[in-house]
């Protein structure tokens, strides 16, 4: 078994118009920026994919990554907890004129909805958001004297993820706090695409250190010396 592909364009092949796309990362930590930019490259060359529903904690920062996808006009809707950042222009400008949709989800609910999607649990109850505007229209129920809100799973057509180490079977480790949503998204997507700083042979990662087992991963591409989104942001880089 070898899930590696040779280049970024091949890695993101099959992500098409109107799909739901999970993108790992919390701010710049764990953002798979090379995969995102490969998707933007295809859009610029072919006009596709567009009309995407993107699931991420945030809604882009500056003029790179998800913000550059939004700028390019590829994103119909964001599902996120915090669509603000140091430089939120890309999302804010389109949101104000109604050119992009927003489903605002509390951060822990977002994580658990994705986890549920990957785990085959269609709905669950959480205390989060009970009695607030974000619970409007959702079923509620009492358990042991406390009120809870019903939330539904989130699944996606594809996920883009940044890992530190991968083996050719798709087993993954992550760097520091960069794992955040990625292990959950890997399980919740039909097609999970990973960029890894280094790809090793099976057995090259101690099984006790593996965070995401390869069963959740479909494609891996090696991106040595991967860029860090926050560092690019601070350097004022714009993509394209």
């Amino acid at each position: 078994m070898d899930k590696t592909v040779s280049d970024l364009a091949t890695a993101v092949a099959g992500i098409e118009d109107g799909m739901t796309l999970m993108i790992g990362g919390f701010g710049g930590s764990g953002a798979p920026i090379e995969l995102v930019h490969a998707l933007i490259d295809r859009f610029r060359a072919t006009g596709s994919p567009e009309g995407l529903i993107v699931i991420n904690n945030n809604a882009g920062n500056g003029r790179i990554g998800i913000a550059a996808m939004i700028d390019a006009g590829m994103v119909a809707k964001m599902v996120c907890s915090f669509p603000r950042s140091a430089d939120p222009r890309a999302f804010t400008e389109k949101y104000r004129v109604g050119q992009i949709g927003l489903e605002l989800v509390p951060q822990g609910t977002l994580a658990e909805r994705i986890r549920a999607g990957g785990a085959g649990i269609p709905a669950f109850y959480t205390p989060t958001s009970f009695g607030t505007d974000l619970a409007e229209g959702k079923p509620v129920a009492e358990f042991d004297g406390r009120m809870y809100v019903q939330e539904r799973w989130l699944k996606s057509d594809a996920a883009l993820i940044k890992a530190e180490l991968a083996d050719t079977m798709g087993n993954l480790t992550y760097r520091k706090a960069a794992r955040n949503f990625s292990p959950l998204m890997a399980a919740a997507a039909r097609l999970t695409v990973v960029q890894a700083s280094k790809i090793v042979r099976p057995g090259g990662i101690d099984p006790e250190q593996i965070v995401t087992p390869g069963i959740f991963v479909n494609r891996i591409v090696e991106v040595a010396d991967a860029q860090q989104e926050e560092a690019l942001m601070r350097a004022g880089v714009a993509y394209g």
Binding site: F26, R84, L102, G108, T128, T132, Y174, R175, R179, N180
Partner: protein, 223 residues
């Protein structure tokens, strides 16, 4: 308005109630200041929603590792015994009742324990982050805040007028003038600045302050 505590002093007072070894989440912004004022000999373990336990201060400028950040997206460092985990585990810690204390900021706190701290209304781009999760699950949910808004209106109110973050969730409020507990849906005054009269304090508070036993003096060093 009479003299009042600075934000740093409010944070200092809140820090005095955090036990050694407590697992603590500090909200983004002003609450982060609480970490600086742990009493000597006590060490809390700080949790950040994006997946780190036992993190420390920001590194010097130029030494940031942007894969190692907190929920406010500031660069952090690790203390010995730190741990990384994914978001579902992180919010299991939050909702599952594993944190001892969460300390948050507030626009309004109501006497029934309702908190409004995420939205000032329908204008602009709404953003919630982990605020609605954090108010559920921690054994104590405390608020640190100025006693009144910038234009002098009470932040401790009968009922919140702004969009709620959580219902009946706050247990203690540390303000620039007083320490107030929320018990049985009422404000109970625990401490106030020594020179401040109860009448003056009540006049800048939007709901009745009950007195149960003695009122302690809120004495905070210059910090």
């Amino acid at each position: 308005m009479t003299e009042k505590l600075t934000n740093a002093q409010i944070a200092w007072r809140a820090a005095q109630d955090i036990a050694d070894g407590a697992y603590v989440n500090l909200g983004i912004g002003f609450p982060e200041m609480v970490a600086k004022f742990q009493p000597p000999g006590r060490q809390a373990v700080f949790h950040t929603e994006n997946g780190v336990l036992n993190f420390g201060e920001s590194p010097p400028e130029g030494e940031e590792d942007w894969d190692l950040i907190n929920a406010g997206k500031k660069a952090i460092t690790l203390k010995p015994g730190a741990a990384f985990f994914h978001h579902a585990d992180s919010f299991a810690m939050v909702r599952g009742g594993h944190l001892d204390v969460a300390i948050l900021g507030a626009y309004e706190v109501a006497e029934n324990g309702d908190l409004a701290n995420w939205s000032t209304g329908p204008k602009g781009v709404p953003a919630v982050g982990g605020a609605m999760d954090l108010v559920h699950g921690a054994k104590r949910v405390a608020v640190i805040t100025d006693h009144v808004t910038k234009d002098g209106r009470p932040k401790l109110v009968k009922r919140c007028g702004l969009p709620l973050t959580g219902v009946g969730c706050v247990t203690r409020v540390y303000t620039s003038l007083a320490v107030v507990d929320i018990e049985s849906q009422r404000f109970v005054l625990r401490e106030k600045l020594p020179k401040l009269s109860l009448d003056v304090l009540q006049a800048v508070t939007g709901a009745e302050l009950l007195v149960d036993g003695t009122i302690g003096d809120l004495i905070v060093p210059e910090v």
